[in-house]
């Protein structure tokens, strides 16, 4: 494809089709749904971070007149350890069942133990007090060091480390080990003139979506049971519920509500299977909503991590070797994003000798969930901090240092394949030209810079495009819209059909209306669902040509389609899309296009961020005074949404770098489970996030799309922490750079 391709609608800033409903409060979110006869479900949660359940007696609760059903782990049909695809990754069905309702052991403070459905929300909450539980409290394992200690209490007595050269013979808190290598790092480091080697740490953080988890479930044994849920992937909610409760997929219908943020955290299930059990037992629809505190304590945060990084370079700036050991917390059950961390950590750089090993470590915290580019922010934070320190030691500008070693087309990645066309060099050059980088650093400020990489994925999407007799239509997609994808779908279909986007209404359909669609995540929707939309629109164009040909009594080869009009190449006739639709009843019935893809060729994305931070040397308080996000979008379908994704990723990353962290007491209880004490950035905390869209088209997508949702959260950790480091003239190795931490670093400087 040509970079100079001209588009009619792609690249415009159209009005978002979902905007009016959202700003007027008309959009229906997870908690907005109700059904006749509906009752309320509440969950009893563990007061301990690690304990055996010696006794669980729900009889008093069951006997209460307001209580209509009680659920415990024993209500799950017998499930065995088995990997299955659900949400964004492979999951173990037994782990999922034990996470949804604990079995014999609680593994984190807030772990669900039992659930009650009662006639009112208050009655359900009160009845939780009637459940009797006896615990044998065990020492909590709250850190990587504690989990790895020789005498560490085991979370799972039967867990053997996978991925070792020799099979493990004793159980451990290390679920798995992974290793990747390229070249020979020992000989590489032998050539190095300068080496930087440090250990970096990142905390447990939450995705911080504003809308808590919520669901309404109505069990039905004669028709598909209904699940209404706030989720990034209703087809995978269906898969999880079906698997856990041994129901056929056709017995479960899931409707995705409007979603108030997910960022990866709504790619798994917590409430839905429990509500299904309660609904089945009570014979009534059941509604469940997590409180904010429950969201923090019991829904998946992002992994805390410890990364040991070593990078060696020649005096010329050529990097000769990079090496890392990564430890990622998985929470209570195996499955941290350690793997993507290993795969991404050094991918921005074309270096001959690389070695990375990673460990997936269980601890007594809530099971981690995906969070925007899972694993990459933690790992690449470590690499980027070391890169900046190395550039300073070599006395080379950090952009020049990166350009000298930048990954480009043909670079062999540590995870295997060579990169196709990518835009890191273009991002670095745009960063250097930016007004931000050209400006002087302010008094009392530091400046930081970091690059970031994320794969982006493709996957399965299905779309139907129905046209009405007046030439308007509906795009029926199965990807919950978490970032403005409906507008992008509208624009891509309009581009193919050559009509105005607002003639097409994009809707997110339920699991009965379309074939399977993968979860919205992995920056896949505009790429993969977009490909399905394009395929469906092209299907419509072919039908329009055939219908017109039949009306003109010519062959389909004798007609052409351009800008919403079919042209008769054998004569002077022409018909608009609307005219053909109006006569569709005479030519074979109404017109509907279909697109079913398993999209390949997702385009990797690079970003470069610049950050200026002012540090109060007396208090350690930090203020971001200027921030610029530069990223390769491939092709920006709707530039405003692309900029919004860049800004959103940057702001979440700034929060991660500056203030966000789970604070636990010595009993393993989170002490800041609310937005007053868990400090995410507010609009008033930050300057306008400046954005620069770089467009190096992905040749595998008809319009060049790469996907933009995740890469933007990768660089901020390094960019912000480097700026703080620059401001206080001391290497930062641990985030968040909250005032107490920064002040501690300042006071220890001497």
């Amino acid at each position: 494809m040509s970079e100079a391709r001209q588009f009619q609608h792609i690249g415009q800033r159209t009005i978002r089709p979902d905007g009016f409903d959202k700003v007027t409060g008309r959009a229906n979110y997870g908690a907005d749904f109700r059904l006749p006869g509906m009752i309320w479900g509440k969950i009893l949660r563990s007061p301990h971070a690690h304990a055996k359940i010696k006794k669980l007696d729900v009889s008093k609760a069951e006997a209460h007149p307001d209580v209509l059903a009680v659920a415990t782990h024993q209500d799950f049909p017998s499930v065995n350890s088995e990997a299955f695809a659900a949400g964004e990754a492979m999951m173990d069905v037994l782990d999922l069942a034990r996470n949804v309702l604990a079995d014999k052991k609680v593994l984190y403070h807030g772990h669900a133990i039992a659930a009650i459905a009662a006639t009112s929300e208050a009655a359900a909450a009160m009845a939780l007090n009637l459940i009797e539980v006896e615990y044998e409290v065990l020492p909590p394992v709250m850190t990587i060091d504690a989990a790895l200690a020789e005498d560490a209490p085991l979370l799972h007595e039967d867990m053997m480390t996978q991925g070792l050269t020799e099979p493990a013979t004793t159980p451990s808190n290390v679920a798995s080990r992974m290793e990747l290598k390229k070249g020979d790092v020992a000989s590489g480091f032998a050539e190095a003139d300068v080496i930087v080697e440090r250990t970096y740490e990142t905390p447990t953080v939450h995705q911080g979506y504003i809308e808590p988890h919520a669901t309404v479930v109505r069990y039905d044994d004669k028709a598909p049971s209904l699940v209404w849920a706030s989720t990034q992937g209703h087809f995978d909610v269906r898969a999880s519920v079906s698997k856990l409760l041994k129901m056929k997929l056709g017995q479960v219908k899931v409707i995705a509500s409007e979603i108030g943020g997910g960022f990866g955290g709504k790619t798994t299930v917590y409430l839905e299977p429990v509500a299904m059990i309660l609904s089945k037992k009570s014979g009534r629809p059941v509604k469940m909503i997590m409180s904010r505190e429950e969201v923090f304590r019991a829904s998946g945060p992002a992994s805390a991590s410890r990364s040991h990084v070593k990078i060696g370079a020649k005096q010329s700036g050529e990097i000769v070797a990079m090496e890392a050991t990564l430890h990622f917390e998985a929470g209570a059950f195996k499955g941290s994003p350690m793997g993507p961390g290993c795969m991404t950590i050094f991918t921005p750089y074309d270096v001959p000798n690389l070695f990375v090993e990673g460990y997936d470590v269980v601890v007594n915290k809530a099971k981690v969930a995906a969070y925007r580019a899972p694993g990459a922010p933690q790992a690449e934070f470590a690499a980027e901090m070391a890169m900046n320190e190395l550039a300073a030691k070599l006395n080379i500008d950090p952009i020049d240092f990166r350009l000298l070693n930048a990954a480009k087309e043909g670079t062999q990645t540590i995870y295997g394949p060579k990169l196709k066309e990518v835009g890191l060099v273009e991002c670095l050059e745009a960063a250097r030209r930016s007004p931000h980088y050209q400006s002087p650093v302010g008094e009392g400020c530091g400046r930081g810079l970091a690059a970031g990489f994320w794969f982006n994925i493709g996957g399965q999407s299905s779309v139907t495009l129905n046209l009405n007799p007046d030439g308007t239509g509906t795009i029926i997609e199965g990807s919950p819209d978490i970032g403005g994808s409906r507008a992008s779908m509208q624009m891509m279909a309009a581009e193919v059909l050559g009509i105005e986007p607002n003639r097409l209404n994009p809707i997110v359909a339920d699991t009965e209306t379309l074939p399977y669609n993968q979860t919205t995540g992995g920056s896949r929707t505009t790429f993969a669902t977009g490909m399905a939309v394009i395929e469906a629109a092209e299907d419509v164009v072919e039908q329009l040509k055939q219908r017109a040909a039949s009306l003109w009594n010519v062959t389909a080869e004798q007609v052409d389609y351009k800008n919403g009009v079919v042209l008769n190449l054998a004569g002077d006739d022409q018909m608009t899309l609307a005219q053909i639709c109006a006569s569709a009843e005479k030519t074979g019935g109404q017109i509907s296009g279909r697109g079913n893809v398993n999209a390949r060729g997702a385009g990797p994305s690079f970003a470069v961020h610049l950050c200026d931070v002012k540090v109060d040397q007396e208090t350690g308080k930090t203020d971001v005074v200027r921030y610029t996000a530069i990223q390769d979008a491939g092709k920006a379908i709707h530039p405003s949404y692309v900029e919004g994704q860049f800004q959103g990723g940057a702001v979440q990353g700034i929060g991660w770098a500056l203030n966000e962290e789970y604070v636990y007491n010595s009993d393993g209880i989170m002490e800041n489970a609310g937005f007053l004490d868990y400090r995410i950035p507010l609009a008033s905390d930050l300057p306008e996030i400046e954005t620069i869209i770089v467009e190096v088209p992905n040749t595998f997508h008809p319009f060049g799309v790469r996907g933009v949702g995740e890469t933007g959260i990768v660089p901020p950790l390094g960019a912000v922490a480097s700026a703080v480091s620059d401001a206080i003239d001391r290497p930062v190795t641990k985030i968040p750079c909250s005032p107490p931490h920064v002040l501690s670093m300042i006071l220890n400087q001497g």
Binding site: G87, E88, A89, M90, G163, T165, M178, E179, L180, K181, Q207, F263, G264, G265, T267, P337, G339, P340, M343, A369, A370, Y371, R372, A373, P374, Y415, G416, P417, K418, L419, K420, W454, F455, N456, I457, G458, G459, G521, G522, S523, R524, N598, R600, G601, A602, F700, E710
Partner: protein, 80 residues
């Protein structure tokens, strides 16, 4: 012949980081590799995605390729 490059994890089963194959389809590739490296199990490969000349393919069952192709087995990717 097409070239297959293995990760260091798969190297523990193949003993080599790289091999050439006659296969020109994914199905034939799996069969040829399992015959060539008896320590490899089908699940070692079939649970992985395939990168064909740099293009990541999550479900490669029907993939065909040329004799000059460069192939890698890559963990299936998830995301947020």
């Amino acid at each position: 012949m097409a070239v297959v490059r293995f990760s260091s994890h798969l190297e523990t089963r193949t003993g080599v980081l790289e091999t050439e194959v006659k296969a020109m389809s994914y199905r034939d590739l799996i069969q040829e590799l399992l015959e060539k490296f008896p320590s490899l199990r089908g699940s070692d490969l079939e649970d992985l995605a395939l990168a064909l000349d740099g293009e990541l393919i999550q479900e490669p069952l029907l993939v065909t390729f040329s004799s000059t192709a460069e192939l890698h087995f890559v963990p299936k990717l998830a995301a947020g």
